[in-house]
């Protein structure tokens, strides 16, 4: 359980995050949406322990984040930031292996896990390439493989289950459409088969609608809606939060999935 209680972050007299309270269960795929500057990244940085909140507290597995040792925390939860700065020609396989650094597992086990994580991200064919020679989208997939390798367990080597979490900030920004959907399906699988809790900030609302168990909508640092996408994504909320006129329909193949279609007229008053 990842538990944020009345978390606030103040910077220069402004509240980047304002009294955020939510509990994230293991094996739950939660997605955070909101306009630019709504506080999604600040929230993720509080949840991952990078940013100590001004007020409030974050607990992971019933212990405050500050009470965790770095290595223990690194073994249980992985973090993918918005951008990566890796600019050295590591071999792709070695980049994925870096995810295993906090673990004391054997070298052979680490290599097997890194290879599996790369395969899950459709990067198996890139394993011997230099990271710097890849396209932006390929690099992003390798980084995703690295964070998956960090908390991945092979079925053969299953230990007693501890809670594991994956925190992702805008993981699909650099990906093409088919890899966006592939990643979403992968997250779904990690959540349902591997019981990994996932918190993911995302801009594409239709991806959220189709894959998330739970959508958290943020506006000006506050949580304004929290629930299943079908309950949360209403025409009035979209107008209020994104300043966008949409028609909310249902997915033709599944009635439980809302489908957001921007309206042709009067669609925005941004200007």
């Amino acid at each position: 359980m990842l538990n944020a209680h009345k978390v606030s972050v103040h910077r220069g007299g402004r509240a980047l995050l304002d009294g955020f309270t939510a509990r994230f269960a293991p094996a739950e795929l939660a997605m955070v949406v909101g306009a630019n500057g709504a506080g999604k990244t600040t929230l993720l940085r509080c949840l991952n322990g990078e940013l100590p909140p001004t007020h409030g507290s974050v607990e992971f597995a019933s212990r405050p984040l500050a009470h965790w040792s770095r290595v223990q925390l690194a073994r249980a939860r992985a973090v993918l930031p918005q951008q990566s700065s890796l600019d050295f020609p590591f071999i792709v396989g070695d980049v994925a292996l870096m995810g295993r650094m906090p673990h004391a597992t054997s070298a052979a086990e680490n290599r097997a896990i890194a290879a599996e994580a790369l395969a899950l991200c459709d990067c198996a064919h890139l394993i011997a390439r230099a990271y710097t020679s890849l396209s932006g989208g390929e690099q992003q997939r390798v980084q995703i493989a690295r964070v998956i390798a960090q908390i991945y367990r092979r079925r053969a080597a299953r230990e007693p289950e501890h809670e594991r979490f994956l925190l992702l900030d805008e993981p699909v920004a650099a990906l093409d459409l088919s890899h966006q959907y592939a990643l979403m399906r992968l997250l779904k699988r990690l959540q349902s088969e591997h019981k990994i809790g996932i918190v993911c900030a995302l801009h594409n609302l239709n991806l959220v609608a189709q894959f998330a168990d739970r959508a958290l909508v943020m506006q000006r640092g506050k949580l304004v809606a929290d629930g299943a996408p079908l309950e949360v994504f209403t025409e009035s909320l979209m107008r209020e939060v994104f300043n966008l006129e949409v028609a909310v329909q249902r997915h033709p193949e599944n009635n439980a999935i809302p489908l957001l279609i921007p309206r042709l007229t009067n669609d925005s008053n941004i200007n």
């Binding site: 690194a74 990566s84 050295f88 396989g93 070695d94 870096m98």
Partner: protein
């Protein structure tokens, strides 16, 4: 799947070590009197014994402790090896390995392949300290009524160089603290500014120095591996060797740091602590190196690059490999410095700059091309 298997790592390190041994033996052979390899090998044990002989300190030159057993020419060779060539070789190995490993650490820490130990102001801080002691040392000694103490002047320069390096690094480090965390970009800029200020001060001091001081100053600021004092060398050995061993253990954290500082934190590394430890270790190694051999440029920049081109960016291999190759390169450069204009000696800093400068420019062009292609 991992880029380099254990066997290949071992093979590479073994190859580099072999190269090092070849160059080291060649350096023991070369000098004003070139010595055949067989004689070097034959006399090495006696020379090493002479180094550790307890009465070495009191033995005046010319009076040979092993004279009863060996003829004069052989005794001479043993003394040359024990008092000139071996210390010089050890100093070259030590300084070369130290500068190269510090270059690897700086480049990894700054995530910038153009970084260099000189960047943080360590070298120029140490240089200012040394120049101060050269120009004002005599007056200072007179003030403190120590004019007749040669030991004071002998130790003043290294002490000043070391504290100068540490002080300028401390200033750069403090300036780059933003909200209690070291900001790498600010650190880079602060280093450039401090380097400029220190350079101006050194220029001013050389302007007011007298002719004799200027000669010492120039020779020292261009670097030299000339060493005649075993005590000085032992101190350098005792400080640099453990620091090198310690630095070589940071391979994993430097690899993680290349992903980004936050990413390294999420992989379980305390990067604030790692940064502080690495910065102090680099200051110690570069400070001591500047003390004993003056300012020798480009080794810290060029060696990490060459090795990275050969074996990739994995610091677990890069750190030891760069240390071995840096030692090899500096000993080779010293052989050139001694032999080009023999019996006179060219400052080794000139050799490394003449060879390293064009190489750096080539790297720069290559780096920009790679960037614009990406």
């Amino acid at each position: 799947m991992s880029g380099y298997s254990k066997n290949r790592r071992r093979a590479l390190l073994a190859l580099l070590t072999m190269l090092l041994i070849v160059v080291a033996v060649a350096s023991l052979r070369s000098g004003v009197i070139a010595t055949p390899l067989s004689e070097v090998v034959a006399h090495l044990p006696a020379a090493i014994a002479a180094i550790f002989a307890p009465y070495r300190e009191v033995a005046a030159p010319g009076i040979d402790p092993v004279a009863p057993i060996v003829p004069i020419a052989r005794a001479q060779l043993i003394i040359i090896l024990a008092e000139i060539r071996i210390p010089r070789l050890l100093l070259g190995l030590l300084v070369g390995a130290g500068l190269a490993i510090c270059g690897v650490v700086m480049q990894g820490l700054f995530r910038n392949p153009m970084a260099d130990p000189g960047l943080l102001g360590v070298s120029s801080g140490a240089a200012l300290g040394a120049v101060l002691s050269i120009v004002f040392g005599g007056k200072l000694a007179a003030w403190w009524l120590l004019a007749d103490s040669p030991l004071f002047l002998l130790w003043l320069l290294p002490a000043m160089a070391f504290s100068g390096g540490l002080a300028s690094l401390w200033v750069v480090y403090r300036l780059s603290l933003v909200n209690g965390k070291t900001d790498i970009a600010t650190m880079l800029l602060a280093g450039i500014a401090i380097n400029a200020i220190l350079g101006a001060l050194i220029g001013l001091l050389s302007y007011i120095a007298d002719d004799a001081q200027l000669r010492t100053l120039i020779f020292w600021s261009l670097g030299s591996l000339e060493i005649t004092d075993w005590r000085k060398l032992s101190v350098a050995l005792l400080i640099i060797l453990p620091a090198l061993g310690w630095l070589a253990r940071y391979g994993d954290s430097l690899n993680a740091n290349l992903l980004g500082e936050r990413e390294a934190g999420h992989l379980g590394f305390d990067m604030e602590k790692v940064k502080q430890q690495l910065i102090v270790l680099v200051a110690v190694v570069v400070g001591v190196a500047v003390c004993v051999s003056g300012v020798i440029g480009f080794v810290g920049l060029v060696v990490p690059h060459l090795i990275r081109l050969l074996i990739g960016p994995d610091h677990r291999l890069l750190l030891p490999a760069a240390a071995i190759f840096g030692a090899t390169l500096l000993v080779a450069a010293d052989m050139i410095a001694r032999s080009v204009a023999a019996p006179a000696e060219i400052p080794i800093g000139l050799i490394t700059a003449i060879l390293g400068g064009p190489f750096f420019l080539w790297l720069l062009v290559r780096y920009h091309r790679a960037k614009s292609r990406a």
